[in-house]
Amino acid sequence: MYRLRFHGRGGQGARVASKVLGTAAFLDGYYAQDFPLYGAERRGAPVAASTRIAEDPIMERGVIPEPDIVIVMDETLLQDPLTMPLSGLKPGGIVIINTTNSPAEAKAEYKINANVLTLGITKIGLDMLGMPILSTLAGGVAARIVGLSEDSLTEAVKKVLSSIITDKKLLDKNVAAALYCFNAITPIETKIELKTIDTNKKKSTVISLPFEPAAVSSPAINATGNTPLRMTGNWRVFRPAWNYEACTRCMICVARCPDGCILINEDGYPYTDYDNCKGCLICVEECPTNTLGKVMEVHAKKVIGN
């Protein structure tokens, strides 16, 4: 069995990618199962979806804890301590990363000890679809890695998308983009076989839950103001970037941020709380002086690094 886990952000298309892959596998005659994990998080928040492909009926359900293949649709997730997209990846497994870096660079940068493939599908998406929605592209990449056919991929993209979008041109563009990605990536030889692999799970011990009084065991929160621990800064695809030369300290950006992520420094200048800023970019849209611009997230890190 192939167990694949897609990691993306709400709105990027991880859920649809897993559906495209599942459908393509089904069309190629395999047993398939796809499953999105809905959390409370919304657009921009890390999301995961799972696809299982097998020659025999699949006797598993739910999130894949130990995937053979992980598709990281958003590079920034690799540094997200809460998402940990590579968790559980099996020895000899494959990681596919949406990045413009080479596999060697990505391996070094993120200290990955597994087979790595890279393809900059965000750029392909922007070029071919005009938007950074990556569902069919990631589906195309994954279909190639597990050895599905081009015909089934084409059919699967049509099937899955026709229930979501009505724009025929956009659908055709998605087919083209999926096939482009399918052919742009070279599968690598791995030890994974298309049959169920027994996983070496650590054994869990079932315990007797101890009683705790209601002061402890009611679903009440006695802490206050602790959501910043969630670090929603990892949702960003683009970040607001500051050029203070033009800033008049008008405070419009401060008043417009839904999350209260623009703070004021000692000199009265606003700045972004990047740990929590979700990257909605309302501040960029509303800034009357071009103090604020937007920069793609991974790129921004490098600029800061320099």
Binding site: S217, S218, N222
Partner: protein, 402 residues
């Protein structure tokens, strides 16, 4: 002489309840009217508010309890079902709300007289449940209910159940305890776990994502409910010391040497006791077990009371459509692993307040004796008489269904 409803109101008055949100429904309304009168006349220092529905009423009662006040409310039947969502919610808040349910059959067809499908529908909510046989017991149970619910080892809301009409509107002698004595038994509610105050903000009833957190919170409620079995015994002993009346989790009547046992709840148990007495006069070693505490279910006490008996007939004044008597199922599951388990028969009787006559009890007792001989418990049976069948025929004719 007090009705069951008036006895309930007296319990609330003696418990010096702070807050009473209400919504009228027959046959419960007399409780809230009585309380409204006392509050209006200043003999009770409580805040009283009529809400827009039982759903709102339960929410207000629960949220007042979550703020740290001692709250009370009451309903019946359809009203209980209308507020049903909030039963689970309020129990999950872990607040010690005491609520009276005056049992009444559920629509459709709509009716007024009692059976226990209303309160038993709430058996999985997290509310504890005490079911009463007499008006005295109603008053006393409300005092015990606050003690039990407010105990830190428990902290769950609780129902005190009484039958509509047969208790709610029935007057019988009730001893009203002295308020000082009640204060000794039931001290002021001072919550350490759920309150709202400016100096200690608290986000109550937060959402939970993920099955392991959810399982934790739910199972803690179950364990708190299980704790209530032992706490109940303490409360029961203390109540007996203070007021001289004993209310165990289950009550046996001519049970010790009995071979054939009726299991019943609520006010019709009185009829069952009379039938047992009559059977004894005929030389049959009959007895009766009345279940008083239904949540938590007193498994050990039940086993001790009926284990080793020859035959037990569970008379369910309720019906789980498609399965049968609810208490029969619950009792059967308690006895399954016992070595000396009695033959267990199931009868549905008293639905919608239908009387259970001495003849009908006699039929049930006879069935137990026959069953013991043949070792066959038979299938569940509705207790319904030929006369009632004939009368039903007459009504159908009048309804044009002849």
């Amino acid at each position: 002489m007090l009705t069951g409803n008036a006895a309930a109101a007296w319990g609330v008055r003696l418990a010096e309840v702070d807050y009473i949100p209400v919504y009228p429904i027959t046959p419960q309304t007399e409780i809230i009217e009585t309380l409204a009168g006392w509050i209006s006349n200043g003999v009770m220092d409580s805040r009283f508010v009529t809400m827009d529905s039982e759903h709102s009423m339960l929410t207000a009662a629960g949220s007042a309890s979550a703020t740290g006040a001692r709250a009370f409310t009451a309903t019946s039947s359809q009203g209980l079902l209308y507020g049903f969502e909030m039963l689970y919610a309020v129990a999950g808040w872990r607040v010690p709300l005491v609520m009276v349910n005056v049992s009444r059959g559920l629509s459709s067809p709509i009716t007024l007289e009692p059976d226990h499908n209303d309160v038993l529908a709430a058996r999985d909510t997290g509310f504890l449940q005490i079911h009463c046989e007499t008006c005295q017991e109603v008053l006393d149970s409300i005092l015990m209910a606050y003690r039990l619910a407010e105990d830190e080892r428990v902290l769950l809301p609780i129902f005190v159940n009484l039958d509509g009409f047969y208790l709610s509107f029935t007057r019988e002698p009730v001893a009203v305890p002295d308020v000082e004595q009640v204060r000794n038994f039931l001290p002021l509610y001072q919550p350490k776990h759920a309150f709202f105050k400016a100096s200690q903000p608290m986000a109550q009833s937060a959402a939970v994502l993920g099955g392991s957190s959810y399982s934790y919170f739910k199972y803690q409620m179950h364990m708190a409910s299980q704790n209530a079995l032992a706490v109940y015994k303490e409360v029961c002993d203390e109540f007996e010391t203070g007021f001289g009346r004993n209310y165990d989790t289950v009550e046996g009547y001519m049970l010790d040497d009995a071979d054939y046992v009726l299991v019943m709840t609520n006010s019709f148990s009185t009829l069952g006791k009379a039938a047992v007495k009559a059977a004894r006069e005929r030389g049959i070693k009959a007895g009766l077990l009345r279940l008083r505490l239904l949540r938590p279910f007193p498994v050990a006490d039940l086993k001790a009371a009926i284990g080793g008996k020859k035959a037990v007939a569970v008379i369910d004044q309720n019906i789980s459509i498609g399965k049968g008597g609810i208490l029969h199922s619950e009792i059967a599951s308690c006895l399954y692993n016992e070595k000396h388990r009695p033959l267990l028969l199931s009868f549905i009787a008293g639905l919608g307040g239908k009387n259970i006559s001495p003849d009908e009890f006699e039929f049930i007792i006879t069935k137990m004796i026959e069953g013991e001989d043949t070792e066959d418990a038979g299938t569940a049976q509705l207790i319904y008489t030929d006369k009632e069948w004939q009368e039903m025929g007459r009504l159908k004719g009048m309804a044009g269904k002849g």
